[in-house]
Amino acid sequence: MRVEAKQGWLASRVPGFTCVRDMLCESRSPGAPWLATLPTLLAAMLVLLLASGVVLAPFYDPRHAYAALQTIMRDVPGGWLVLSYHQIGASLAFALLYLHLFRILLVRGYRAPAEFGWMLWVKLLVVLLLAGWMGFVLNGGVGGHSSLFNAVNAAMLLPGIPGAVAMWVFGGASGGATLARLLVFHALLALCAAWIILMAFAADKKARPVLQGPGVPFWPIYAAQYFAALSVLALVFAVLLGFVPHWGQGTQNTIPAATAVIPAAISYPWYLTPAAGLAGAFPGVAGHICAMILAAALLYALPWLDRSRGARHGRVYMALTWLLGVDVLMLGLVTAFPMGGVLPKLLGLWFYFHFLVLTPLVTMMEAA
């Protein structure tokens, strides 16, 4: 059977089989910005995370987590490299996702008809944050263990059905049985992330405006742009891998977990620090949990919190969006380097204030 005939045979039976070919032949509007390659770079990082995770999984032992990591680092051929792939891949995936989300906020790309795509990107953030936290815990170090200890204690305090579900998730006090579960959930969330990003690509494609006038073919013009962007990412990856392989991972996980050691403040990997800071904006265990849910819900609801109804960008809201970016950065910094005082709380509360009050108010005033 000839190649065309095979493709035709498959295409008439499997929907979506031709999407790669269609993408390569697609005509696009010329002059797309370099930052439009971010989702593809993120997808490449997710593929690397999946591949390295699959390789790490057979060597991981949830009942001797710390020892398993030592084995991977020392005994598995090239294990140190695969572990670095996974750690640096996680760092870069979060960096790309944060950058992409911030870009959507700046260009207000979350408004109709792209709101479904935006919701999927927010879902991806939630899933990756959960998976990232589990990865941090699976290290079997003091930092991860004490974070898990807090989470399990919080779960035990929850009343009724939420508490029962949380206990089912954790499977009792933090130990080997809990890590075994988290390992499975970590892998499941990774598969969810892969599915969500595919959906997000499809949604974004649907939301793209219809091409006006002659476009340029994806191959080879945009393919070259994507290739160059991937090369830059590979360069950044190689520099991190070669010179600062443990950058931003937190230092406490280098100490094996022991129930008697509870650090005064947990040093999270850098990509979890803004979320940890947001959780700390409200007091108490219930406050932390509600803060996380509220933050995700606000991001999710942003297309409806923005009252501009398709009007042009306003300067004030643009400035406020930049301010939000600085706020989240600062929040991460004050969580990574605890300083006490009222500033961390204020930075956290500003996030909620921005979405709950400023966004509807300012966008409505600017659209009027």
């Binding site: 051929p77 695969v82 792939y85 070259a224 290739f227």
Partner: protein, 185 residues
């Protein structure tokens, strides 16, 4: 990128150079992807410890004549026996018609090291560890091994001679590194 915006219909003035760049970029990409994937594949291959465990080296110089040494390999008891000249001579003249599972001497020992018999020490009838490694052990009528469970008897080469068992003892994969050492696996 800048020259590409002329559109797909415009004939590139330097097609040769562009083709070269295309091949260069694709080759670079292939090398990059390959160098990322290589450690992933490498990590899943057995490490030095696993390889040593899979192919252990056994010293056979300490085995006395007419006795056998038992080692564990891949969960199986491996018996290594040093034969006397007389035992080889006796085993060589057995008629094939007398054997339930006919096998020549040459198929039971390694050429050049005819004094050593290496077999899996499990009865081929009901799986049971054989007796007869030491000259003082019960060895049956054929001077080899006997099964304490069903009474099957084997000769010095591990060929079945009587009993419920129908097949000769299995021979594991092994090679003589030198006259004193064999490597299993």
């Amino acid at each position: 990128m800048a020259e590409s915006t002329a559109g797909p219909d415009a004939v590139p003035p330097e097609a040769g150079r562009r083709d070269f760049l295309k091949i260069l970029a694709m080759a670079g990409g292939a090398v990059g992807v390959g160098s990322v994937v290589w450690p992933l594949l490498g990590a899943l291959t057995p490490g030095a410890g696993g390889k040593a465990q899979a192919r252990p080296i056994i010293n056979v110089s300490d085995i006395a004549e007419n006795s056998a040494k038992a080692v564990q390999w891949a969960g199986l008891p491996i018996l290594i026996r040093r034969l006397t000249d007389q035992q080889i001579a006796v085993a060589s003249v057995v008629a094939m018609a007398d054997l339930p599972d006919p096998a020549e001497v040459s198929s039971r020992v390694a050429p050049g090291n005819r004094h050593f018999v290496v077999v899996v020490g499990l009865n081929t009838g009901i799986p049971c560890q054989l007796e007869g490694n030491s000259p003082t052990d019960p060895r049956g009528h054929y001077d080899g091994w006997v099964c304490p469970c069903d009474g099957s008897e084997y000769d010095v080469l591990g060929r079945v001679r009587s009993g419920p068992a129908k097949y000769n003892l299995a021979i594991p994969r092994f090679t003589f590194i030198n006259n004193n050492q064999i490597q299993l696996g």
